[in-house]
């Protein structure tokens, strides 16, 4: 152990959602990659000091819905660039979706990803495996081998298994293996051809609609299958009031169902599409104000326990086309925290404790991971957040190769200034470095 990797983080405000601790001023000691008790170290131990005055100290965030694009689409993003973006966004753990080329429906693909992650990733990466071979929804992927290779959950994200019989079998099998199934809820017979929410704006703009009911139908199917099989089912990127109602009822009945929402769905509505800008094209699409409010309410009352970015990078030229032709998806790693702060904290809907629980404890519970915490013995995955830092979204400054953000130009408040993983600083904002030097 070198003193370089032993830190004394002082005078910050510590928020630990797992322990529900909110202390100020707080001092945190990091050594050997962990949060440690200084009593176990000599009095003159040479800690490297980090002055966290005016900053919030938080456990590192988990983003359980990220498209790394490797293997196969490194023109859009790489494991290296995506994890750099994650680190800059305060995310210390990402869960990679399996809709790559080839898809992660074979243990070799999972092994390839893990090898690349070991070599290039800046943050922790957990792969997921496909539910079905080639994500075609027809034949189950080899769950057991995928899990043995390192997959922590199963999902066909990007697609949804349409056949209820296959989904039932998948849930039965997954329940025995003890891993959750993450589902992208979309009945494609109903959403077919749709490029935005079906409603007032699709009528005005003349664009084919993707109706709410296409999501809700699968949400209700999955809930019924969950009841039948006992499998842990996690509903990805929910967008509609109806989905929330179904989820709330299922939770009341004690079913092992969980769900996530994305920052763009709580920050924006379908009216953002008025100029046919493909930066606002995502799947599921932006919905109505009523839906948006229902999602926020579900976060506030605990019905939804996870916020995830659904970071889906695309090359610029792919998005600079007619709206109907543009691919679905927006990037989100580098704006996740600030957009959530804007819509949930600064809007006075949630406190920081509850908000950051959705990005730490929530996803760890769904995935069965060790919950991020700042207690003694926990891995030193932590971030420092400057709640008062104002900034303007500028995609050219992103680490992600994907510049397709719907928040371009938006003025936001709150910025991660330091990210530490296993006791090592992996991201530090320049001004913080300068501040350190002057101390």
């Amino acid at each position: 152990m070198t003193t370089e990797e032993a830190y004394l983080i002082s005078a910050g405000r510590l928020i630990d959602p797992l322990l529900r601790r909110d202390e100020e001023p707080a001092t945190l000691y990091v050594a050997e990659g962990k949060i440690v008790d200084p009593a176990n170290y000599p009095k003159d131990f040479p800690w490297t000091k980090i002055d966290a005055q005016g900053l919030i100290i938080l456990p590192g965030l988990i983003d359980m819905h990220v498209h790394l694009r490797e293997p196969g689409e490194s023109r859009k993003e790489t494991i290296k660039t995506a994890t750099m973006a994650a680190a800059a966004g305060g995310i210390t753990t990402v869960v990679a979706m399996p809709n790559t080329i080839p898809p992660a429906d074979h243990p070799d693909t999972i092994a390839w990803i893990r090898k690349k992650v070991d070599k290039e990733a800046v943050v922790k990466v957990y792969p997921t495996g496909c539910i079905t071979e080639e994500r075609l929804g027809e034949k189950l992927a080899p769950f057991q081998s995928l899990i043995q290779a390192g997959a922590i959950a199963l999902t066909d994200d990007g697609s949804c298994v349409q056949n209820a019989r296959i989904m039932r079998r998948a849930m039965e099998y997954a329940s025995v293996l003890g891993v959750p199934i993450l589902d992208h809820c979309e009945d494609t017979a109903l959403s077919d051809g749709g490029v935005m929410n079906e409603g007032l704006w699709s009528t005005l703009l003349g664009l084919p609609g993707w109706p709410s009911i296409a999501e809700e139908l699968i949400v209700s199917r999955d809930i019924l299958l969950c009841e039948k099989t006992g499998a842990k089912i996690h509903l990805q990127h929910l967008t509609t009031e109806g989905s929330i109602r179904l989820l709330r009822d299922a939770k009341k009945r004690g079913l092992p169902v969980s769900a996530e929402v994305c920052p763009h769905h709580i920050a924006l509505t379908e009216s953002a599409l008025k100029e046919y800008d493909p930066r606002f094209k995502m799947n599921p699409p932006l919905r109505t104000e009523k839906d948006r409010e229902a999602l926020i309410e579900a976060l506030v009352d605990g019905t939804v326990e996870v916020i995830a970015s659904d970071h889906a990078p695309h090359a610029l030229f792919e998005k600079e086309v007619e709206f109907e032709k543009a691919p679905f998806g927006v990037v989100g790693l580098e704006t996740l925290v600030a957009v959530c702060l804007k819509e949930l904290y600064f809007s006075k809907k949630m406190d920081l404790m509850d908000l950051f629980a959705k990005l730490t404890v929530g996803p760890s519970r769904v995935l069965g991971l060790e919950p991020p915490s700042l207690r003694y013995g926990s891995a030193a995955d932590l971030i420092l957040l400057d709640l008062n830092a104002s900034w303007q979204v500028d995609s050219t400054a992103f680490f992600s190769k994907g510049k397709n953000t719907p928040f371009e130009g938006m003025h936001l408040k709150g910025r991660v200034v330091l990210t530490m993983i296993d006791g090592k600083i992996v991201w530090r904002e320049k001004r913080l470095v300068e501040k350190q030097k002057t101390v």
Binding site: L204, G206, V321
Partner: protein
């Protein structure tokens, strides 16, 4: 050639492009209509035309439409504008070039007007933002076809003397119709009451939020109408599951001589063309004294001349 009326209209024009009628305010619609009326007079009385020499218009037809292209072409030529058109079958878009690259190349070649007909909604808006030349939406997917909306408006105003308070039915496949959208905005902004009539699967109820009325029953709606606009049933756009059969469509929504008995005697019948005789309406009705179909075509020419004329003045007014 100096034309004082036209000069007065064009001095107020502030738009580079014509993408949608939804975006225009009343005074802009009025300006186009006034200019079109003037052009119609000039054509009829063989008066000297104000020329837009040394300008070039290009029609990029990513979706085929002979009528619209020819109307724009004649309008251009009457104004002395050189006119070219690129057919979707031979365009580089077919060879995989992006619309952005195609349009940027055309702009670099020095055209002044780009008329775009495209199956994707929003493609005209996309180009208008991208290019510094005037973009004219010649129909973008199910979004808008503004010159069609304007010529409908002109035809109705000409016939009735005013649009305010008139009851207009727009009948058929509203969901996929850019004509329905443009004509709706033109008429409702100009003070007409619009009622959409069609099968429930082809008629988004959200139009109510924009002030339209909705009906699924043509027979009930007919007696009140001053004007009926029948939309083309475009088989290629409509998927099979949207209504059971053409036969059922005809039974419920085709305008027949029998149904005409329920209408006001002097009801005006319109259709953006081409008419599929026997489907949207009985053949004889298309040629009856109530029909304004050929008037629409004639007015289309004047509208398109007015649009060229006003958009060109944007660059003079800057």
């Amino acid at each position: 050639m100096q034309n004082l009326k036209l000069d007065a209209i064009k001095r107020k024009w502030k738009r580079k492009d014509l993408v949608s009628l939804e975006a225009l305010d009343l005074s802009e619609i009025e300006a186009i209509l006034l200019a079109a009326k003037e052009f119609k007079t000039i054509l009829k009385e063989n008066l000297p035309l104000p020329f837009l020499n040394r300008r070039t218009a290009l029609a990029l037809m990513v979706e085929p439409s002979t009528r619209t292209r020819v109307s724009f072409e004649i309008a251009a030529k009457k104004l002395g504008i050189s006119f070219l058109s690129i057919d979707y079958k031979t365009s580089s878009i077919q060879k995989g070039e992006s619309l952005k690259d195609t349009a940027k190349n055309l702009e670099a070649l020095g055209i002044d007007f780009l008329i775009i007909r495209h199956p994707a909604a929003g493609s005209a808006a996309f180009l208008a933002k991208l290019l510094n030349i005037s973009v004219i939406n010649g129909g973008d997917g199910a979004h808008e076809h503004p010159t069609q909306g304007l010529l409908d408006l002109m035809t109705i105003e000409e016939h009735f003397g005013t649009v305010r308070g008139l009851k207009v039915l727009i009948v058929g496949d509203i969901l996929h119709s850019r004509v329905a959208r443009s004509t709706f905005w033109a008429l409702s902004k100009y003070g007409a009451k619009v009622k959409f009539v069609g099968p429930i699967t082809l008629l988004p109820s959200y139009f109510k939020d924009f002030g339209a009325e909705i009906s699924y029953n043509l027979d009930e709606a007919l007696p009140f109408a001053d004007c009926i606009i029948l939309l083309r049933l475009q088989h290629e756009r409509q998927r099979k599951d949207l209504f059971p059969s053409i036969g059922e469509y005809i039974a419920s929504y085709s305008l027949t001589t029998e149904r005409m008995k329920k209408c006001k005697k002097d009801v005006l019948i319109m259709h953006p063309g081409p008419v599929e005789r026997g489907v949207e309406m009985e053949s004889e009705l298309a040629d009856s004294p109530n029909s304004a179909i050929l008037k629409q075509v004639e007015n289309g020419l004047a509208i398109r001349m007015a649009v060229f004329y006003l958009l060109a003045s944007y660059f003079e007014n800057r």
